[in-house]
């Protein structure tokens, strides 16, 4: 597996086949006498913007604290939760419980559901 080609920016899908964003970054553990290994998948604005420019990453972090669901740290998914890497990356998690859908749920609850005909996010 080539991490940048096969993992970075790939779509993440939870155990219920719900889209939960794309891989924003990877967290690696580099030990002195061990091989480097990927420990977590990172999802979220600050990590993404950091890839464009560190300054934008810091701004994104600051804005994340002030607005919306007020999450400033990226979501971390342990690599052990990765089930398959193919067209997308299938994870053994429930998207809503990870924080990856915080913005989706916040917008649904605070904006979309208040507009007539918007429906309810919780209805099945």
């Amino acid at each position: 597996m080539v991490l940048i080609r096969d993992v970075l920016d790939k779509k993440l899908i939870d155990r219920e086949d719900c889209d939960m964003g794309r891989v924003s970054g990877l967290l690696m553990h580099v030990g002195e006498n061990t091989q480097p290994r990927v420990t977590h998948i990172l999802i979220g604005g600050p990590t993404l913007w950091m890839r464009v420019n560190p300054f934008l990453g810091r701004i994104s972090k600051r804005l994340g604290r002030m607005w919306g669901p007020k999450r400033s740290e990226p979501v971390r998914i342990p690599w052990s939760r990765v089930e398959t890497v193919g067209r997308g990356i299938k994870l053994d998690v429930v998207a809503k419980e990870t924080g990856a859908l915080d913005w989706e749920l916040w917008l649904a609850k605070n904006v979309i559901e208040h507009i007539p005909g918007g429906g309810s996010e919780e209805e099945e």
Partner: protein
């Protein structure tokens, strides 16, 4: 049987959805000022679009990726960010132009000034997005758009000199006003090769669950649908050449443009023109609003489907809601949709290489397409037309801005 129906609907919707304010305005201005001389960029643009739309459908059917999703994966977020800035600006301007086209058509039909229509029109477009399904938007709007076939009727009724028409398909230089000629060439190419069409088409293929068995059908839909659509734009140019050029009229306003239809069809021409523009721009406004929401949702990995209720894909619904409302604001203050159209079409040309050349790399990647990769012909045709439009845009857009 189901596939034959899909095939017919696909071709009909491609034809009905082809014309919009950009293609009508650029073709009418080109015909009025340069006669048949600017038919060649329409032909080149249409051939390029046929290839691009076919590629978008093939990518979706074979790899199950939309164009945007695959681009993000293949080229990473920093690249996606740069392209998204350019695409958002251009597509936003095109949306203003299309909403303006609807408002202008209503002004022609009712006599009430177009700024008054900006908000109601945006609300109706938004409401259809909010409550409608993908099929309703794609098929419904495009079927209404079939009224634009009346442009072909108008062109035939004006009895063009077909030998002169044929000579327009070969590039030639005008005797005067070369800068304007260049700007119109670029605008026609920009109006014909719209990246948003690729995003919309590949998203539609995923929404309708295309697989490899659709590869041939996709080729027929893209080929026939886009070719006949391009034929309608050529009809506009031919009718404009016959209606305006002899009298030396330049098309600068919407009611002026109606003359190209009333000259051929004195009784119904005015209403046919207004209705054609109304439905064509309405369909385009829906497609563009959807395309921009698809762009962000697919690029960032959100839930997306026009068939889900808004709260089930809140970010997707939020994007189109915001962009439609914001696009109505300049129109309410009386910004001229024709000026916005001409500039947005030329800017589309200038940004084409950034959207299209990476897409060509993708279409040659065996990881995504295996044996369904591009051949040399499609690569060459698309690369040449896109680079030509880019170079012309670099020269003519500054000249147009400086020269007004």
């Amino acid at each position: 049987m189901k596939k034959i129906l899909q095939l017919s609907l696909g071709i009909i919707t491609s034809v009905g959805g082809f014309l919009e304010i950009g293609s009508v305005t650029t073709s009418a201005q080109a015909g009025a000022q340069f006669g048949y001389q600017l038919l060649w960029p329409l032909l080149f643009g249409t051939i390029c679009l046929v290839f691009l739309v076919e590629m978008s459908g093939r990518l979706a059917a074979v790899s199950k990726h939309t164009v945007v999703g695959a681009m993000r994966e293949r080229f990473g977020f920093p690249f996606f960010f740069v392209v998204s800035v350019g695409i958002t600006i251009v597509v936003f301007m095109v949306l203003i132009a299309e909403l303006g086209g609807i408002a202008f058509s209503l002004q022609m039909l009712t006599g009430i000034g177009f700024p008054w229509w900006a908000l109601p029109v945006s609300l109706v477009v938004w409401l259809l997005m909010w409550k409608g399904t993908f099929s309703l938007i794609e098929y419904g709007a495009s079927l209404l758009g079939l009224v634009t076939i009346s442009f072909a009727v108008a062109a035939f009724r004006l009895h063009p000199d077909w030998a002169a028409v044929a000579s327009g398909f070969l590039p030639s230089m005008p005797h005067s006003d070369k800068a304007r000629y260049g700007f119109l060439t670029v605008s026609i190419l920009g109006a014909t090769i719209s990246p948003y069409l690729m995003y919309f088409y590949s998203s539609g293929a995923i929404e309708e669950k295309w697989d490899r068995s659709y590869v041939v059908m996709n080729r027929i839909i893209a080929g026939f649908g886009m070719f006949f659509g391009g034929f309608l734009a050529m009809a506009v140019l031919i009718a404009a050449a016959l209606a305006f050029q002899p009298m030396g009229i330049q098309v600068n306003t919407f009611p002026q443009a109606a003359l190209l239809m009333t000259t051929a069809l004195p009784k119904w021409g005015f209403y046919l023109f207004a209705l054609s523009m109304l439905f064509a721009c309405f369909g385009a406004a829906l497609e563009i609003s959807l395309a921009i929401a698809y762009f962000f949702a697919q690029g960032l990995g959100w839930n997306w489907s026009q068939n889900l209720e808004p709260s089930k894909n809140a970010r997707f619904a939020f994007v189109y809601t915001v962009i439609i409302i914001v696009a109505a604001i300049p129109l309410m203050f009386g910004v001229d949709p024709i000026k916005v159209t001409m500039m947005s079409m030329a800017l589309t040309s200038a940004t084409l290489p950034f959207a299209i050349i990476p897409f060509l790399f993708l279409m040659n990647d065996p990881i995504y397409l295996g044996k369904y990769r591009n051949g040399w012909l499609s690569n060459a045709v698309v690369a040449i037309v896109v680079l030509l439009s880019f170079v012309l845009a670099l020269i003519s857009v500054p000249l147009e801005i400086v020269g007004g």
